[in-house]
């Protein structure tokens, strides 16, 4: 394999994982912008999506039905969590709320361990065939599913924020919560909306990536952290920043693992996180110092 095709290979697999990181990062950014909370349970939404899907497929549901049902289930679970655990603590300081989300993440993982055990599950690819060869590199059909799903979800998210009335109201809540309240936009309703929407993004990310990685009760931990790194890379409050951050992180990680050693793969993200926090706390794409979009 020539160096060029080798690089292409790393970029392709980097974009696959990067798309997943981008979706998780988008969840972080949406919730953070609307509520000010950094939701460390975001990774668990990914795991729940994948686990529900594995379970539904296991009882014989066809793939499309399993996907739809899993998304709805995760949205309901997260809606209940927002209502029960986040809203009742809204008066608490941001640090307390972040600690609550860390607690939630541990709790969800614990329950998942009880329900699904420690064994990894494997999910069949959505479609058969492949792998395909592009310029000396190979790509499996599921990677195309991941990239395609990511693209569609990102487009949908951007469309929602740019062109729908609810999306505009959500943005109003992000840029000026006080004025939004005066217009009758209820921050607690927007918070619920942000959590449930992010849950759907996370769940779908979990389902499309499941056939590529194994599904385990603790898969959300690493995906959540990587998504967080991607969000920080993008400035934590910018939706396009989250997307670029996610894709960049995926590609850097894949190049690093390929060119240096695969043992460094996870370490790379955290070195990037530290570098960004030290050198450019506003994110690579964000404006340093200011928090809001």
């Amino acid at each position: 394999m020539s160096l060029a095709s080798e690089l292409l290979q790393y970029v392709l697999s980097g974009l696959t994982m990067g798309g997943i990181y981008a979706l998780v990062a988008l969840g972080f950014v949406i919730i953070h912008n609307v509520t000010g909370i950094i939701n460390f349970a975001q990774g668990e939404f990914v795991m729940l999506g994948a686990m529900f899907m594995v379970t539904l497929i296991g009882v014989g549901a066809p793939t499309p039905l399993a996907i739809i049902l899993s998304v709805i289930l995760v949205m309901i679970v997260v809606g209940i969590i927002e209502f029960g655990a986040i809203r009742s603590a809204k008066k608490a300081s941001p640090v307390t709320l972040v600690i609550i989300t860390i607690g939630l993440s541990t709790a969800i993982r614990g329950i998942a361990l009880l329900v699904w055990g420690t064994n990894p599950y494997k999910l069949a690819p959505f479609t058969k065939g492949g792998p395909y060869h592009i310029g000396g590199a190979t790509i499996v059909p599921q990677s195309l599913w991941v990239i395609g799903t990511t693209a569609v979800l990102l487009a949908l998210t951007l469309f929602m924020f740019e062109y729908t009335y609810w999306g505009k109201a959500l943005r109003a809540c992000m840029v000026n919560k006080f004025a939004a309240r005066l217009m009758g936009i209820s921050p607690s309703r927007m918070s619920l909306f942000a959590f449930v929407f992010s849950a759907a993004l996370g769940a779908l990310a979990g389902m499309v990536i499941a056939p590529i990685t194994y599904v385990t009760y603790d898969m959300g931990l690493m995906l959540g952290l990587k998504g967080f790194v991607a969000a920080v890379l993008g400035g934590l409050s910018s939706t396009p920043g989250a997307v670029i951050g996610g894709l960049a992180l995926g590609v850097i990680e894949s190049l690093g693992a390929g060119l240096l050693s695969s043992g460094y793969k996870d370490g790379i993200s955290f070195i990037i996180l530290l570098l960004v926090l030290f050198l450019k706390p506003g994110g690579i794409f964000g404006t340093s110092g200011t928090k809001r979009v």
Partner: protein
């Protein structure tokens, strides 16, 4: 129309509003003038449901409104145009106006675009700039947008918190003339101001708020002539 009875509001342990009573009749412009820190914003904020009063009552018509959260008070027909305008600066002028109608967006969908046309006609500097981001407007234009956004809620009472803040005298004049034409159309306005002279000139009636207490009340024209008011609030400004 709007009636406030013996209102007390605290910020923490500090009693900021002390036994405030006032009323605004339909179609009136009433102003509350007072120095910085007198409690003007706290008073409007309490009426709008941003701050919870410790005691006292607020009526709109015959319905009591106090203690509701701000996002519900707007449904009753009270809208606050906050101090420093607080427009949604990364959204367009048009979106700001549309969001002003949030509480009635789905029920009045058909009339909203027409209402926006009316607002743009009322504030000529905004017309033709619907696509521009609100944050790129000048201070005076942002104030107009903030008032326009408030009007989009179709309020029974419009609360204005220092609309003249930080604006050049000519711009203040322009905005206050628009307030007069709003009154002609029947809009009811309660406005707090530090710029006593300008406010007393457009208002029908006025209250003077001093450290959380209403110290004078009367017809705006009379207060403008009142020697005590002149020395305390109009001083240099009267001759400016």
């Amino acid at each position: 129309m709007l009636k406030v009875v013996q209102l007390d509001t605290y910020h923490g342990r500090i009693r900021v509003l002390k036994n405030i009573s006032l009323h605004v009749e339909k179609g009136e412009i009433v102003t509350i003038v007072g120095a910085n820190g007198a409690g003007k914003s706290t008073l409007l904020g309490t009426i709008a449901g941003v701050y919870k009063p410790k005691s006292g009552r607020i009526f709109l018509g015959t319905k009591q409104t106090s203690c509701l959260p701000a996002e519900k008070v707007v449904k009753d027909g009270i809208i606050l145009v906050p101090e420093r305008r607080e427009v949604f600066d990364s959204l367009s002028v048009l979106d700001n106006l549309r969001l002003g109608a949030f509480h009635r967006y789905y029920t009045d969908k058909k009339t909203i675009e027409g209402d926006i046309e009316k607002i743009l006609a009322l504030f000529p500097p905004l017309a033709g700039r619907e696509k521009q981001l609100a944050g790129t407007l000048s201070g005076g234009e942002q104030q107009m947008l903030a008032i326009g956004r408030g009007l989009m809620a179709n309020p029974k009472v419009l609360l204005l918190d220092e609309p003249s803040l930080g604006l050049a005298p000519l711009v203040v004049k322009e905005i206050f003339e628009i307030l007069l034409s709003l009154r002609k159309q029947g809009t009811t306005i309660l406005m707090v101001e530090q710029n006593a002279k300008a406010a007393l000139k457009v208002a029908d009636r006025a209250y003077i708020l001093e450290r959380g207490v209403i110290s004078h009340a009367g017809m705006a024209r009379e207060l403008l002539q009142d020697s005590r008011v002149q020395s305390a609030y109009l001083g240099a400004r009267l001759h400016a």
